[in-house]
Amino acid sequence: MSVNPATAPLLSADGMPLKKSLGRALRRQKIRALMLIAPLLLFVFVAFIMPIVSMLFRSVENDIVADTLPQTVLELQSWDAELGELPPEVVYAALASDIKIAAKARKHTKVGLRLNYEQSGVASLFKKTARKAKKWDGDADAPFKEKLIEVHKSWGEIEIWQTLKVHSSNYTSGYFLNAIDMRKTVSGPEFQPEEKQVLILLFKRTLVMSLIIMGTCILLGYPVAWLLANLPARQANLLMILVLLPFWTSLLVRTSAWKVMLQQQGVINDLLVQLGLVADSARLVMINNETGTIVAMTHILLPFMILPMYSVMQTIPPTYLRAAKSLGATNWTAFWRVYFPQTVPGIGAGSILVFILAIGYYITPEIVGGSKGVFISNRIAYSILKSLNWGLGAALASILLVAVLVLYWTYDKIVGIDNVKLGG
């Protein structure tokens, strides 16, 4: 068999076609790289991604009502909540039996607590009913309608049944509606009563304050970054310490330092009073309000603005400015038309970084923010740790997460995540 040398495949040393041999080498290389990454990927997946997913799941999960009161939920399906009539006796009987079982398993308080987020007073209603229902004996005590209404008159009102029916599905949009100050009712989503609307306000405040903090960071950071980029290396490195030391100092230390500085009996107020700029009786209120949060958070986030700006400005040759001026530009034109446009990537990178960090801040607003300077993250912590409304906390966190991921995506498009630099 003769082989045409022009069409025959190239062979490697061991007689295999070169293409195949190269392909195998490449595959081996890929597998080796993946093997090195795999342990960490698995670890991050289990210890970080899964918790986030479980949080997203929590924000819509609502199986507690259906699990604890299965017969009631089943019977309620055929009841039309919008007619304005109380449900029939079968529903009351189902409820009595469900509550009796739940009380024995000590699950009635949980479902009461869950429904209490939607209609206040339900928790105590369930406790009271369960105490009575334990003693009832199957059908002997029928009819249950009168009995239940006797135990608590709420069972004779239509609202409680509507709440039960609306929140009986296994998955609910209720928490997300709550997170934007709305609630689920039989006739569709509605806005909460005025006095209960706080969350949209908090979202707005988080957004506005983060923008203000970002703005002050740009204003304060720009001159400093310019100075650092234009000084001789030795002096710049020395001044860089002043930026990096706060960056490396514990967040709690900086926050407590601001508490010391800003208090009414604190260092700044004492200094102002000593200088006579402020009367002793009219000390400035700079803490436990928006001012406190903005001052302290700008200080904490400023290095994150300065460092990206600095690394961009370092690459801009100073000759450009001089060239612009020698061509007749005024100081301002030279800066605004020649220098500034080249620094925009740095400003963009720093701004997104500061903004992402700011909207998720919790510790600093909690300590220096009082009630007027807190963010949505403080509300999340409150829901999870204090009021124990976990679903609402998860829903709020999910909304925040989506906002951050969008910003993260923008950041990736503009700067690229592999360009993130740490500590200069």
């Binding site: 290389q29 790289a33 093997m35 407590s256 330092a257 951050v404």
Partner: protein
Amino acid sequence: MAALTVISRKPLSFVLPSMGLLGAVFGILMGMSLGNAGLGIVIGIITSVGFSYFSVLGAAKEKLVRFSLVFLALVAGYFSFGLAGMIAGGLWGWFYGWFVFWLFEGRYRARVHSYLTSGQVLWHFTFRVICGVVFTYLIAPIIVVIPLSFNAQDFFTFTPEMLNFDPAGYSLKHYHDFFYNNEWQRSFKNSLIIAPIATVISVTLGTLAAIGLSQSHVPFKRLITALLISPMIVPLIISATGMFFFYATVGNFLENSLGIDKNLVGYVKVILAHSVLGIPFVIITVTATLVGFDNSLTRASANMGAGPVKTFFKVQMPLIMPGVVAGGLFAFITSFDEVVVIMFVGSSKQKTLPWQMFIGLKEQISPTILAVATILVCMSIALLVTLELLRRRSERLRGLSPT
């Protein structure tokens, strides 16, 4: 920096009004603190112009003039405000003398280009002053904490005794409290247990993955990088919320089904959570070091008969060591400083130093916090120095001259 411009003396018609302005500002401040701003301005202008006139007359003996200005200010300060006033006065006198001759001799021109107009020179120095203000804003809170931690009183502000440098105003009692109070010591120990273990986990896994990521052919590289860096980008409060639900389930499983000690499970949960948070920092710093890594070195090593493991430990590891250590420091400080996640995931048994500080700041404010803060500031200075040394070493290893 060498002088850029030949300097010349400036006329009195420039020096005296400028000094008058300085005197007016000083006069306003002094006047207001004594209750009469108007009088303050007038006296400030007159004395400032007078002093600068006589200083300029004695310009031939500049050293003597400046020395006597400092001396006068020292005496005046001491008789008006005591010891603290003497120090402030001395500093003021020194600055004043320096400033008069800086203006009069035209020294301010020496370091700027000769073609700049007066307006540009003025802006040049105004700009520096603005930057100085921002630097003060950055560093002042951290500096202020240090002397306050030696306060003998339980106050968060300077007492009159402290300002007069009276030894009775200072004490080490807050430090004593930190070292002998059980709460603080226990939280300090917890921090020292949790942070190092979390660091070791994130450095080991992170370095391996960074080496994998910097190979030339990695499928889904962008996606994997994004996933691995996500713990740094997702706000702590969200990570904490997610971990709160998930780790509680996992913890209950470990305790009830496997019968593991509750306390141990608590530590495991917190350490796992913290090591995830530290991983992005390790990935970023190690990948950055690997970018400059010359791959022909590993090939050379393989050529000489070294296996992959030996190549890694003998060739690759020593070269990327600075990056690994820097990443480890980042991971360590992330864990050491972290308080949100641990509050959600841990129990009070795992209370760390920042958590204890947080409680202290929220509830019973104790000045011990300032002592702890000072210790932590010293720690971050040590960290900063280590990182700088590492950076220089890394540049040396790669054959660059350190800046």
